[in-house]
């Protein structure tokens, strides 16, 4: 699992709003850095890394919520939550398939379930691809960076 990047400017006397800006900028860039790896079904770690990064982004958006303009923050946060959900749907069959492959020698009758999970994986991958395109058209990354800048400017 990829380690979280250090956030610049996390110092005791930094203002809450400056830290908010820095945190959202850093965590937003982290999420989109995984964009290229995430649709490769042979690399399940890409999905996992993007999902963890999205959770960390959501966490800083919630921690520092008071520092951002309410409407823009709400809209961006809703989309980050949506991204987290669609990544979760994609990740869940990976986790289950991994677990089942460990159990295959000890427990009988798993083949049908494994086949269903692979189909679910493929379907979730298509939905993830569609969601990522939608977020790109909607310029989610850019809006997160603008939101961060607004925290500093207020």
């Amino acid at each position: 699992m990829a380690k979280a990047r250090d956030i610049p400017g996390i110092e005791p006397d930094a203002t809450f709003r400056d830290a908010a800006a820095s945190a959202v900028e850093t965590r937003a860039e982290e999420v989109f850095a995984f964009r290229d790896r995430v649709l490769d079904t042979s690399d399940i770690e890409g999905v996992h890394d993007m999902r963890v990064a999205t959770r960390r982004l959501r966490a800083v958006m919630e921690i520092f919520a008071v520092c951002f303009p309410k409407k823009q923050h709400r809209r961006a946060l809703d989309q980050v939550k949506e991204l987290a959900d669609v990544l979760g749907e994609r990740r869940d069959p990976d986790v289950m398939l991994d677990r089942l492959s460990e159990l295959a020698e000890e427990v009988e009758g798993l083949e049908e379930l494994q086949a269903e999970l692979r189909e679910r994986q493929a379907g979730a991958n298509e939905r993830l691809a569609a969601a990522l395109e939608r977020f790109e058209r909607d310029r989610l990354r850019e809006r997160l960076l603008v939101l961060a800048a607004e925290a500093r400017a207020e």
Partner: protein, 150 residues
Amino acid sequence: MKARKVKGLDPDGPLVDNMRRVILVRLDELYGFEDKARDPANVEELHDMRIAAKRLRYLLELSGPLFGAEAKRSAKVVKSLQDVLGEIHDCDELLEVAHARGLDPLAAHTHGRRARLHESFTREWDSLEEDGFRDRLEAALRADVPREEK
């Protein structure tokens, strides 16, 4: 599980003071589950405790530069708790699937695994209590923070 609202946050106030407030609320949220989480049958509460642990862990990771070694150590402790709660949650998801499909051998195996994981969780929680985790973290949060001389 919706996070409790933290009162008194000031966007123009020092980061350290604001973060202290948030961490204390999230720490209290985590401990709010301690009694119910001891019963392995409380699936929802164990899931909610995992979410609470995750929120606290991300906060502590962020706060390392503010509250020093104890915050960093505490982040690792909470991560370990989150990990075992995560594995319990994975078992719960797999059990739901196994029961829905009548996969009795899978259900039996997963029940056994879940029971062992829950025992591991209660041992870990007891160890955390014996170590005075909450008191130590609260003391670190309330200690004077070394400021750089300007």
